[in-house]
């Protein structure tokens, strides 16, 4: 097993003409870590990956792999291997030739290549497919061949550019587990690019959330979900209800926010905003659908709000109730299905409550577009 190698981006800027694709990226990825860049399409995450793999040089700043500045090293000279979004298997080479192409480049004998191919094919459980062409394989098998091909070069860092996006849901979920398993086994650093927050949260040790070339937050999955650093992160990762307003008062780690619609509500100030928010600032309060519940006590309180039910839906593991929300938007509440009987509340006014710890206040900012 290889010891993982750290990857550091130091003040990396990448420009294409006037367009800034990546702005001031500072990221430290520990050796042996499963690290994800998560963001909507066009946010610059693939550009960062290309800068790490060497297909493009940053306009400014440094890419360090294992403490070594990679400037001037082309993709064929870096200890990285890239798995492409469309996998880019060589269609005219057999599976085993595909897998051992990097050894062929190094001039390894056919016997050695065969041996290595057999080892890798066994690892991905495709030993009987070695003589086939990629076009004869299923989607998941191709996926595994691409992983084996990348690992064959024994890279220090494996870069994955949304490799699961072409698979159907079931297979995608299965491959998540498998990828994570492979990463644990080989122990090298994985850098994973995705727009799918489910993938990022389930597989990664750390996640960087990107928006329009800017890295908004780097943290563990749970911190990203529970303690977002910006309004964008709060709205992009998972579902969230947003309420706009102004800070009415501050009290330690909590704030009262005068919302445009429901009066004053209390919430925890996000760690990133603590100390920087003042009374009167434009703010946004986020509360997740699963943090809302129907209040038994309907008297007014700072953690209660009432709204009219627009419609309801049953999703299996939960009932979703949609109510009149802020600025014409819907407010969503998810009630876990634990077998309770529920009567439809369509058209009624409901009083909802939440625990102030589970609602977050952040400075007003750009939201992820749906």
């Amino acid at each position: 097993m290889k010891k993982g190698v750290a990857v550091n981006l130091e003040d990396v800027w990448i420009r294409f003409g006037d367009f800034v694709a990546v702005r001031e990226a500072n990221v430290n990825i520990n050796g042996g870590e499963f690290f994800s860049f998560l963001g909507p399409s066009g946010c610059g995450k693939t550009t960062i990956l290309r800068a790490v793999s060497g297909f493009l040089e940053p306009s400014q700043g440094r890419v360090m792999i294992g403490g070594k500045d990679m400037v001037g090293f082309g993709p064929n000279k870096r200890p990285t291997a890239l798995i492409f979004q469309n996998l880019a298997l060589f269609p005219l080479m057999k599976v085993w030739e595909n897998i051992t192409f990097s050894l062929e480049v190094k001039g390894a004998s056919k016997k050695d290549r065969r041996k290595r191919a057999d080892e890798l094919l066994e690892m991905i459980a495709l030993s009987d497919q070695s003589e086939k062409l990629p076009s004869e394989l299923s989607g998941g098998q191709k996926q595994r061949v691409a992983i084996a091909r990348a690992l064959c070069a024994q890279p220090d860092v494996l870069l994955l550019d949304e490799p699961l996006s072409a698979l159907d849901l079931k297979l995608r979920q299965h491959m998540r587990t498998e990828l994570r398993e492979i990463q644990r086994r080989v122990g090298i650093t994985f850098i994973y690019i995705t727009h799918d927050q489910g993938e990022a949260l389930t597989m990664s040790d750390s996640v960087a959330v990107m928006r329009a070339g800017i890295i908004d937050q780097v943290a563990e999955g749970q911190a990203i979900y529970d303690d977002p650093a910006t309004a964008f992160v709060a709205s992009f990762v998972g579902e969230n209800n947003v309420m706009r307003g102004k800070i009415a008062s501050l009290d330690g780690k909590q704030a009262l926010i005068a919302t445009n619609r429901t009066g004053e509500l209390i919430a925890r100030i996000a760690s990133s905003a603590q100390g920087s928010m003042k009374v009167g600032d434009d703010a946004m309060m986020f509360v997740r659908p699963e943090a809302l519940r129907i209040a038994k006590d309907t008297s007014e309180a700072k953690n209660r709000l009432s709204a009219k039910v627009r419609h309801e839906e049953f999703e299996g593991q939960s009932y979703n109730v949609f109510l009149d929300g802020d600025a014409g938007k819907e407010l969503k509440m998810s009630l876990i299905n634990v077998g309770q009987q529920r009567e439809s509340a369509q058209g009624q006014n409901l009083t909802l409550e939440y625990s102030p710890d589970q609602a977050v206040v952040l400075p007003a900012g750009e939201l992820a577009s749906e």
Binding site: P75, L82, F90, P91
Partner: protein, 309 residues
């Protein structure tokens, strides 16, 4: 499957109008324009050279004298074989192969560049620049080459004036003008098939190979060329066939001492007035070219179906 069912299926798929048109057009193209004329040439090539009144008379029998003539020459000639005609024949084929190789070497990088840069505007201008010269007719282009390569032509003038050479080089006698002219004439037929194939090559494959440490030549050897093989063979086939069968360029650009085999054929048909002999020579050229193409295709493991891609 019986014929009736095949036809019924065919008409159901294409409709009566289009189906009939396709059948007639393809029949006309293949049978009337290709097979019948070639069959009549084949028939000609086995007949005696007779004056018109004797045609169809008792003397008009089948013979292989013209094929014999190509191999052994006229009876009572000095040497045992027809050294002159066979020499020209072999030289023509070798020269056509040479022209094909030159075109391939010139066109592959260009086709690769055109196919892989999704440059848009610039690529379109390049393609246009390649096509526009073909608006000029073949004879004019050949004469233009004669002027450029002439004793006092552009190339000699430049070389003389810069002091590179003391005497003008006779490009025409050395056949350089001819090879250049032929290579130039069929460049598009080489570029476009290769370009078409390479354009559909996924760029990620090249990057993947590069990422795995492959130098540029290995990327071409292992990824691009195998992928482009159908285009390359289609281009080579066309350039080879057309060069071997070219007439205008050798007529205008050929040196005084070197004949192209087509010129000999032309002479038998035209000034010689001996159609059967011309037909026999033409058939030999055609069959030899087809054999060369088929054996090269076999050697490079290209399937017939790939050529049509």
């Amino acid at each position: 499957m019986d014929i009736r069912k095949i036809f019924a299926d065919y008409y159901r798929r294409n409709g009566t109008g289009l189906g009939t048109f396709l059948l007639i057009a393809v029949f006309f193209w293949v049978v009337v324009l290709i097979i019948l004329p070639q069959l009549s040439m084949l028939d000609f090539s086995f007949r005696h050279h007779l004056p018109p009144p004797e045609m169809g008379g008792p003397k008009d029998t089948y013979t292989i004298e013209h094929y014999k003539y190509l191999v052994f020459g006229a009876k009572g000639a000095g040497s045992a074989y027809n050294v002159v005609d066979l020499g020209v024949f072999v030289r023509t084929l070798v020269a056509a192969i040479f022209v094909t190789i030159v075109d391939l070497i010139l066109c592959y990088p260009l086709a690769y560049y055109l196919g892989q840069t999704k440059g848009g505007g610039f690529t379109r201008v390049l393609v246009l620049l390649l096509i526009i010269p073909y608006w000029v007719n073949e004879i004019l282009r050949a004469f233009a080459f004669r002027i450029i390569f002439g004793d006092s032509g552009l190339i000699n003038e430049v070389l003389l004036n810069t002091g590179t050479i003391a005497q003008p080089i006779d490009f025409i006698r050395a056949n350089i003008a001819l090879y250049a002219g032929l290579s130039y004439a069929y460049i598009l037929l080489m570029i476009f098939p290769i370009y078409n194939v390479i354009e559909s090559l996924d760029r990620n494959q090249i990057e993947a190979a590069r990422d795995m440490g492959a130098p540029w030549w290995r990327i071409h050897w292992r990824i691009v060329i195998p992928y482009a093989k159908p285009g390359i063979s289609s281009g080579c086939t066309m350039v080879f066939m057309l060069s071997a069968g070219a007439l205008a360029a050798p007529q205008i650009l050929g040196g005084p001492s070197s004949l192209w085999f087509t010129q000999i054929i032309y002479q038998w048909f035209n000034s010689g007035g001996n159609w059967p002999r011309g037909a026999a020579f033409a058939i030999v050229l055609l069959v030899t070219c087809i054999i060369i193409v088929l054996s090269l295709m076999r050697a490079f493991k290209v399937k017939m179906g790939d050529i049509g891609k």
